[in-house]
Symmetry: C2
DNA sequence: GGACGACACTTAGCTTAGCTAACTAATTAC
DNA sequence: GTAATTAGTTAGCTAAGCTAAGTGTCGTCC
């Protein structure tokens, strides 16, 4: 019975996927260091990010986006509300629903943090040549397409 | 006083960094869905991953890698030990230090989870043409280099 | 070679983040 | 107009984060 050893080379598709997966993890782990300056916990920062970029969202939307249950998101949001970073209003048309959106303060806080991360990444990318830059630009467009695809 | 508007185009370096950052986040958020099948919490899964790939590590190494404090990692590791996924042994040369390594079971569990993520990503990457594949391969090598760089 | 500081981790005790189960209120379906 | 469904919340638990303080081990230095 043929057994697949750990050292066996993987087929080309999975091998690239493996490397992309690993590279993405290491990239973001590196940038995460900058987040402590925001003063927010990782779950709150992540939820705030979705609220800022996805515009007014419902609590259910948020819970799905963050892959947590509704009660968890309910408490995260009330923490963000108390901190003055977001506002939650009942939808007048369907009063079960909340419309959650960022305040100016929330948007500013998130944007400052995102800038720290991006600046750090931009500094790291300075190691690349102009030609490599062009290749990376193409690749990023592909990753965006793949990562946002329907299913 | 010239004010930078939100709609202003960013300079080329930061703009690529911004897009790469966002693409990496969306890529991993998408793959994270697969992790529930492992039965482990995200922090434990992440710690196990470092243990499996970085070989025997100390608790301090792990805490630094995961960007948490020692007491947090201490409890994560004892959870993994109780679950039979890792083994922690005192270093005979310096008995303050632990050498933490994965068991066969731990390695198998992590590998199964990683495979689910990678297979999902590989399936997503099938949308790309052969030419795009080659570009992506080049870009991944660059990202690996950048993400592992010293500082 | 004994005292002392530093180091690696653990314990205690707190807050936040995750969950399920059960509840409330609003809407939709019949 | 009653029943079922949907959106969130509350209660109550475990896990994960922190700081402060404790334990044992090592290195140093006189």
């Amino acid at each position: 019975m043929p057994r697949r050893d750990r050292q066996d080379p993987l087929p080309p598709g999975p091998e690239l996927a493996t490397r992309l997966h690993s590279a993405a993890i290491h990239l973001l782990r590196r940038l995460r260091v900058e987040d402590s300056a925001s003063g927010l916990s990782a779950p709150r920062l992540s939820a705030l990010s979705v609220i800022v970029f996805a515009g007014p969202v419902t609590l259910g939307d948020l819970a799905r986006a963050e892959q947590v249950r509704a009660p968890t998101m309910s408490r995260l949001v009330s923490g963000l509300v108390k901190a003055g970073l977001v506002i939650a209003e009942r939808d007048p048309a369907d009063r079960r629903i909340q419309r959650i959106r960022a305040t100016t303060k929330g948007r500013a806080l998130l944007e400052a943090g995102r800038l720290r991360r991006v600046r750090r990444l931009a500094r790291d990318l300075d190691r690349l040549s102009a030609a490599e830059f062009r290749v990376l630009r193409e690749a990023v467009a592909m990753i965006e397409r793949v990562a946002r695809a329907e299913r």
